[in-house]
């Protein structure tokens, strides 16, 4: 981490959020159930469709006294691009995750963000599926 070289912090914590867009396909389908049961549970979401997902990743850090920054922003955005935008854009998410409900996806995305963004401290991930619904996972 580049900022560590410059050590001292102000002891004031801030949370920085970056947002990115992921256009991907999914369908709500539990592979352990029959098509009929899936249709009954998930209605029209059972059909393959897509979203412009809005992914919001929040990290917390102490504001560095010299740089005024709470994290390495380039590292943060590079990881998000590599691990989310590049990996999931244009993909059928059901080929990657067993269940692609917003609730499951937001937790899976949190786990990825937490692991790949180390040593940054990820405190939450938000996932906007449509303008009308939003999922939040706090770790």
């Amino acid at each position: 981490m580049r900022l560590k070289i410059f050590g001292s912090t102000t002891m004031a914590k801030a949370c920085l959020t970056l947002r990115l867009s992921i256009s991907a396909l999914h369908e709500l389908r539990n592979p352990d159930l029959s098509d009929e049961e899936n249709k009954r549970i998930y209605g029209k979401c059972f059909h393959t469709h897509g979203h412009d997902y809005g992914l919001e990743v929040t990290v917390e850090g102490e504001i560095n006294k010299n740089s005024g920054l709470c994290c390495d922003r380039d590292f943060f955005s590079d990881v998000l691009k590599k691990e989310f935008a590049d990996k999931f854009t244009g993909k059928h998410l059901n080929t990657i995750f067993k269940n692609t409900s917003g609730e499951i996806l937001v937790e899976e995305f949190f786990k990825i963000a937490k692991e790949k963004l180390k040593p940054l401290k990820v405190i939450s991930v938000g996932l906007r599926e449509t303008p009308k619904n939003f999922f939040l996972f706090k770790g």
Binding site: R2, A12, A14, L16, L18, N66, S67, L69
Partner: protein, 134 residues
Amino acid sequence: MTYLSRRITFSSAHRYFQKKFSEAENKKIFGKCYNEHGHGHNYVLEMTVGGSVDPLSGMVINLVEVDQILKTVTDPLDHHHLNFDVPEFSKIVPTTENIAKYCFEKIKDLLPREVNLEKVRLYEAEDLWVDYNG
């Protein structure tokens, strides 16, 4: 406890530059934000206060008062170059983090005692924002 959030926008120029760093260090840490003349943003400042609802007015705090506070805090920033025109940022870098902290502290000083400043959120862009709560 009931929470109320209100926004205001302001437009400012800033440059990420720390004189304690060498030119190479400034470039490495701040990248494009180190450009000689800096750059600008349409900032959106959102403050959230928490308090009990007054039984007579039905309000946590009067929005007229909130708007006055937000205007008082952001007027010195709006249409200014933060590095040169705001004394606080002559010594510290006007990063989104530091501007959020600055706004939080100024708003807190102006708010009536009975309401609590829960946090400020400062949007530098639609895809980047900072939350600060003291």
